[in-house]
Subunit: 143 residues, 2 copies
DNA sequence: TGTTGTTAGTTACAAATCAAACTAATATCT
DNA sequence: AGATATTAGTTTGATTTGTAACTAACAACA
């Protein structure tokens, strides 16, 4: 490869970051404007809504998020009355997090918004492109 | 699409962000450990090294970076003696940014590191996947 | 039982980011 | 020329993030 072939737009860390930023900005307005949520809060909410009640540690592991970030997001969502904590009987270090009814409603709303936002993005790609894109991103995330 | 088909790993803003994070972390050590640089500093340096001297505004536009971020990165790179500013004669609001010799050396080093890091990542993909991935990311960034 | 280690989650402080206000230089319009 | 608007870039203060130290609950083992 000569130097001329390698510019920033083909450097994966850069290209991925640019693309991630571009799509994030568009989706932010749903959770930010409507519910005053931060990105980590939206993720925690999504995890609970999509995969059911679980512990903060569970979210950390599934989402590759640091525990301090999750801790703060959980606190914020609790303040908003979107979730409740229940310490586990057999081990009081663990607390089960579960969405409140209100949290469920918000989740449903954001879930629909996410689906249609994603559909809007997908419209720019062929089925093959979309499939390969998914596969590549998944592979990269697991490196 | 049923709900079961739509989980976080297929939601583009999420999947892109996870992938971007994963690749960024691996590349950070090059500019962070060796040169104490931040991500924006690395980007500014790369722009100047790859595309030649230009103004801060030019970098903002090309890299879609906010001017405050660039301003601080330029200051940091100046402190490290990696670049110099020269106010333009005909319009003293503009200052041309150019790498110093030392900056060039650092750029070359990081450029090589980037190329080989990218090659290492690319090894996980077929030529077709890599091509489509590039195309998709480029499209998304321009939305 | 007591000591040591581990784990879930929080807190505190430093570093980084964002938005908005600001300065200085130039352009425009009367 | 003089008033107003733009533009490049910086500074400031509030918000957000990252790192490391911390607490509390439990486990393991002498």
């Amino acid at each position: 490869m000569t130097d001329d072939d390698f510019d920033l737009s083909r450097f994966l860390p850069y290209a991925l970051n640019q693309a991630a930023e571009a799509t994030s900005i568009g989706f932010q307005k749903y959770y930010r404007q409507r519910y005053g949520m931060l990105r980590t809060e939206w993720r925690v909410l999504f995890h609970l809504g999509r995969y059911g009640a679980m512990t903060a540690k569970g979210i950390c592991d599934r989402a590759s998020l640091h525990k301090t970030k999750v801790s703060r997001a959980v606190y914020a969502l609790e303040q908003k009355r979107f979730l409740v904590r229940t310490p586990q009987e057999q081990d009081r270090r663990h607390e089960t997090l579960a969405l409140t009814r209100q949290g469920q409603v918000v989740y449903s709303d954001l879930f629909e918004a996410a689906k249609s936002y994603d559909a809007k993005l997908s419209a720019h790609f062929t089925a093959q492109e979309r499939e390969i894109l998914n596969r590549c991103l998944e592979k990269i995330s697991k490196l």
